[in-house]
């Protein structure tokens, strides 16, 4: 079980560094210094090399800790938990196995758990946060606006119970979808002959075959994240996607995947299949109606990449019901279903229906 956590310390004052999305740099709240990811990575490599050398020297001199007496048996609970020590205040951090980055609950020191993000679990890419916590809260307030049936108490008395920035693990699927589609196309003309309306319909068999390529179709790989919320905050701008570095993680939660690429693939398959059918459907024009008759879609699956995407998760409770909101940490797009006040709904209904009924009655019965 890894017990060491990585804490990016300021090279100038040793205060904790955290990644700031708006500047794209790691900043120190204590002395105000800021560093690029590349600078900190170089500094960390140098520090780790020095520490490794010192540890090796200590072990060689017999000065290392003797851990042979410690109890190693944690029972069944150990399967889902990991314990780490905060390098800043020494507190023990208990995380579940999928947590890769968190902050110390005692000193709020942002930390990274490297064991969760190494080896085969190492992400290929990361999209850094661009929006801060304050911006996420502002976005939520804007999300409430323009919702005519939102209960007043929900906005006035409601307090966000939890807000957290999470790097959500996603599988990115590449591939090509190839399809043979057959549609039934109809062109109808209607004419009037005496008391008959005569409709003449020409029938066509429409055949389309083609292929289309996909790049980085995202599917979230964490059971903690509701799939529909993750789908709804798409898309991400892949132009800002960076090769993964733990330097982007301090200050945010980061989960490792707990749903395999194989288990996520059917979601990507369905999206690709629907898209190729729709793309071919768009090439059919000039018909009164077009109905899909037959489809044969072949998926040529390509590379799968692993990436961490920035998401702000906000949740609140109202009338014993939890309302969950998700914001794309890169684009600022926020989603989340809102409650409907039955009183407002019926009041609006009556306010629309009553005047129309009055006007209609006046026109039909009085005039």
């Amino acid at each position: 079980m890894p017990a060491q956590v990585t804490n990016y310390k300021c090279p100038a004052c040793t205060g904790p560094l955290h990644f700031v999305g708006s500047s794209g740099r790691l900043e120190c709240d204590y002395c105000g210094s800021n560093y690029s990811v590349a600078e900190i990575e170089a500094h960390m490599r140098e520090e780790e090399a020095k520490a490794a050398e010192a540890y090796a020297n200590a072990q060689a001199n017999g000065d290392g800790w003797d851990t042979s007496q410690l109890e190693n048996e944690w029972g069944e609970e150990a399967a889902n938990l990991r314990a780490y020590n905060c390098p800043s205040c020494g507190a023990e951090l208990i995380c579940d196995v999928t947590t890769a980055a968190t902050s110390c609950p005692y000193c709020n020191n942002p930390t990274v758990v490297p064991g969760q993000l190494s080896g085969v679990l190492k992400p290929d890419y990361v999209i850094p946060f661009r929006y801060s916590k304050e911006q996420a809260l502002d976005a939520l307030k804007k999300h409430y606006k323009g919702k005519p049936f939102l209960p007043k108490a929900f906005t006035d008395k409601n307090h966000i119970e939890e807000i957290k920035g999470v790097y959500v693990p996603f599988w990115l699927f590449d591939g090509v979808a190839e399809a043979d589609i057959e549609f039934d196309g109809r062109i109808s003309h209607t004419r009037r002959s005496g008391n008959y309306e005569i409709t003449t319909t020409e029938h066509y068999q429409i055949v389309r075959s083609g292929s289309i390529g996909f790049s980085h179709v995202p599917v979230d790989a964490s059971t903690k994240m509701p799939d529909n919320h993750m789908d709804s905050i798409e898309p991400y701008d892949y132009n800002e996607m960076c090769p993964f570095s733990t330097a982007y993680l301090p200050g945010f939660l980061a989960d490792k995947f707990d749903v395999s690429a194989a288990d996520c693939a059917p979601r990507a398959d369905i999206r690709c299949k629907n898209t190729v059918i729709e793309a071919l459907r768009k090439t059919v024009s000039g018909y009164t109606s077009v109905v899909l008759q037959h489809e044969d879609v072949q998926l040529h699956r390509g590379n799968v990449k692993y990436a961490l995407m920035p998401v702000w998760m906000l949740n609140t409770k109202w009338k014993d019901k939890t309302f969950l909101f998700a914001m794309n940490g890169q684009s600022g797009k926020i989603v989340g279903d809102l409650p409907i006040s039955k009183g407002k709904w019926w009041a609006t209904f009556a306010a629309i229906a009553a005047p129309i009924a009055a006007v209609l009655a006046a026109i039909l019965f009085l005039m």
Binding site: Y196, I212, I352
Partner: protein, 306 residues
């Protein structure tokens, strides 16, 4: 005011019955058989007689089977003999092949040219169908001109039009023949002489129309606002839902990667469907629906589409 209007309408109807009836009282030259003058005969030179004539039924359009043709011929002949009133049927593909004018004009010309009708006034009724545009004409001559009024022609039309709209030719012709004779006999018996009968009919008809219209207005006043309010609130409610499953990967399509291998649009066949449109504004009274009433020139009747 309403009563005055009804009385006026009834008077108008009586006048319309009386004028042609008076005209028919003039005796014919031979006193026994209806005959055309030489001028009248000359005016029908352009009228082409159907080739398959046997006296009562002409099926130029081939709508009837042999047995149906035989049965209809027998029925028309029997009714004609029993009631001294000619009953005639004809089907053609295009009425314009047989004369000038509309379907009703051509039908009256054919009636005279073929010497239809019984007795000195050539009493009789004639129902030709023209299949190309699904036209019909229902014309009555002699005593039929008096008996077939704006009201009674509606009774006959109601009997046969529903069959013809379902392409039930034989059934429609049988209903036409039997109902026409029934109406003629009722008229002879004085069933329709009573002014109250018409008043009752028109009052009931008007009341039903008014009742229908009022019910429609009430429903419109209730349902339209509910529908509009429901749709508006539904659209506004949908703004509260922003979470949904993704079904497309359109955002992740590689630009210009769509490659079409095969694109064919193959014509297979053509179909045609017909829908009858009720038009109560056409054809005054009688419930004929979709037809117009004709009166004058020795004939009364109607024409329209089926």
């Amino acid at each position: 005011m309403k009563k005055l209007l009804i009385i006026f309408l009834a008077l108008l109807m009586l006048v319309s019955f009386a004028v042609p009836a008076l005209a028919d009282e003039e005796p014919t030259e031979d006193g026994e058989t209806f005959a055309l003058t030489e001028d009248e005969l000359e005016s029908f030179d352009d009228v082409t007689e159907p080739t398959k004539a046997d006296g009562f039924v002409w099926d130029e359009a081939g709508l009837l089977s042999d047995s149906e043709y035989e049965e209809l011929s027998e029925l028309c002949e029997r009714l004609t003999e029993e009631h001294d009133f000619g009953v005639y049927i004809m089907t053609v593909n295009d009425f314009s092949d047989y004369g000038e004018g509309d379907v009703y004009d051509v039908s009256t010309q054919l009636f005279l040219k073929k010497g239809m009708g019984v007795g000195s006034d050539a009493d009789g009724i004639f129902l030709p169908l023209s299949m190309d545009e699904r036209d019909f004409a229902f014309c009555a001559h002699g005593y039929g001109e008096k008996a077939i009024t704006a009201y009674t022609r509606g009774i006959v039309e109601q009997a046969f039009l529903d069959n013809f709209r379902k392409n039930d030719w034989y059934g429609g012709f049988v209903d036409y023949a039997e109902t026409s004779i029934e109406v003629i006999e009722d008229f002879r018996a004085g069933k329709y002489d009573d002014k109250d009968y018409y008043e009752d009919y028109y009052e009931t008809h008007e009341y039903k129309q008014k009742e229908k219209f009022t019910l429609g207005k009430v429903l419109a006043t209730i349902l339209a606002p509910l529908g509009i309010a429901g749709v508006t609130c539904g659209v506004k409610s949908s703004k509260h839902k922003s979470v949904k499953q993704a079904v497309s990967a359109e955002n992740y399509v590689i630009p210009m990667s769509l490659n079409i291998y095969r694109s064919q649009d193959i014509y297979t066949h053509t179909t045609e469907s017909r829908r009858y449109i009720s038009d109560d504004s056409r054809g005054g009274g009688g419930g004929g629906g979709g037809s117009s009433f004709h009166s004058g020139g020795g004939f009364s009747g109607s024409s329209g589409k089926f």
